[in-house]
Amino acid sequence: MSEAVLIIGGGPAGLAAAASLADLGVEAVLVEKEPELGGTPKKYAYSKLVPDLRPAQETLAPLVQRVQGREGLRVLTDARPTAVSGKAGDFKVRLAGPAGEEELSAGAIIVATGFEHFDARRDTKYGYGIYPDVVDIRDMERMLSEPQLKRPSDGQVPQRVGFILCVGSRDRMVGNTYCSRVCCSVCCVQAIEVKEKNPSAEVYIFYMDIRTYGLLENLYWEAQEEHGVLFVKGRVGEILPRDGQLMVKGEDTLLRGPFEVPFDLMVLASGMEPGEGTVQVAELLNLAREPNGFLAPRDSHTAPLEAAVEGVFLAGADLAPKFSDDAVAEGAGAAVRAAAFLRSRAGR
């Protein structure tokens, strides 16, 4: 029997779960494979976060702070689980870390292994990985974290910037048919940031439809009304290099018909896929995955944060594409479910 909870993944969801368990006085071990806590937003140096455009550093720092120096909470970075045996109440987990291998016991496990960005090289239409000025939203976050936005090829400030939505999402040809949910909003935010850094830039967003869902609709309005970002309905067909610029071909399906216009920088809204860690942990713990490869909850209505495997709880973007604020909420929720599970067993 073990009273401890193992949390796999130190991104927003895992951090929130760890902090919540510490608040509840439940012993926990947080394991992160990267050298630093903060998950994908930290790894790729995200610039500003949805919904309120606050710098990612500013929102991640308190999450990280809340897990440091807490009683009963161990935090291991550069570490990952390599084998799991036993069952709910008494999992035996082998960890590989910088100090070598170790084995620990856990009564419950929270899986918060997150996502990875779609590799835009898999969509060959746009020449990502071939033309340096075709970047994806992950690269763009890092570029926008710098004081000035410069295009990769020659360090010039781009005057014409285009965003292509739904790259690697909603597309049978690349094998991902789901909507990645965040990219429309993220691109609106990035477009606003481009205009803030260089108000004379012309910024276009090419869309199939805009899914700044729920309360995020204001991002789409703000981008147009306050920053003059232009929206064109049409998925770009092809990008080709021409005279030091990018020639972008497509069809404006609402108004102007075919276009072939030059851009200085093109940004691909590469979607979200289950991360490498998610795939590995799913195999280790024998977790069910839904058809798109994300982890499947036991029951999405009544047990949305629980795996079908008893004693395993789920949180964050390993369940489905989502924003970091939702991941934080789920991390806290999974912590409560795990703590309640351990208490019910102890009372038995």
């Binding site: 239409k125 049978r172 199939m208 309905k233 092809e238």
Partner: protein, 226 residues
């Protein structure tokens, strides 16, 4: 007359939808336009693969509207099918509609096929598309100023080519009579002759006469051997 047109319109739409390929080719469409963005024909003609799919979803009037020049503007490169996020195949729909137009001997099919009658004649009588004697300045102006030279002493030049089967000018290579007999049988049995008959009766007659002569000669030759 309006009744005939309505009937034709309806029948074409039903034929299209009854084609076993149709439901693989037309799935759904969000009007994203990525197909048109790629389409090489779209750069030169009033043709857009997105419109092809939208017309299929809109019904028989719109589909009928494509049966004129529209379906013949597609280059059949299938770039559209390669990029469509829904996995639609607009070029495939065009192929089905062209087959319907040819089967029904529609005006647009006749008009498009007319300039190919020489090629069709060659294909159906020899199994080659283009023969050396067809390469003349009038028909191949884009081949440049050397064409008249190529036509001088054509037979002599052809004999200079070391491959024996190429010593012919009325076909690209010498086609054996047995091959022509097989070709004739395939064209007949597969209904190709019927299609030519519907779209160009004059041409069909010329082909039929030519092939009949050749086949008769071939059969006589075979009989003699036995």
């Amino acid at each position: 007359m309006p009744d005939d047109k309505d009937r034709e319109k309806h029948e074409i739409f039903e034929e299209l939808r009854a084609d076993p390929r149709y439901h693989d080719f037309v799935r759904g469409c969000l009007n994203c336009g990525v197909c048109t963005g790629w389409c090489p024909s779209h750069r030169f003609f009033d043709y857009a693969p997105r419109i092809v799919i939208q017309n299929c979803l809109a019904g028989e009037d719109r589909v009928y509207g494509m049966m004129g020049e529209y379906i013949w503007a597609c280059a059949q490169c299938f770039s559209c099918a390669m990029v469509c996020p829904f996995n639609n195949n607009p070029g495939g729909v065009v192929a089905i509609l062209r087959e319907i137009a040819v089967r029904r001997g529609m005006m647009s099919a006749k008009r498009v096929l007319k300039p190919y009658s020489r090629v069709l004649l060659k294909v159906m009588t020899f199994g080659n598309q283009v023969s050396p004697d067809m390469i003349q300045p009038d028909f191949f102006p884009d081949w440049g100023p050397k064409i008249p030279w190529a036509q001088e002493d054509l037979e002599l030049k052809r004999q200079a080519i070391p491959v024996p089967t190429l010593r012919t000018v009325e076909s690209a290579w010498k086609v054996a009579e047995s091959t022509m007999n097989e070709l004739y049988t395939i064209n007949k049995e597969a209904g190709i002759f019927d299609l030519v008959e519907v779209n160009d009766p004059g041409l069909a007659e010329v082909i039929e006469d030519d092939v009949q002569d050749k086949v008769a000669a071939y059969l006589a030759e075979e009989a003699k051997k036995e």
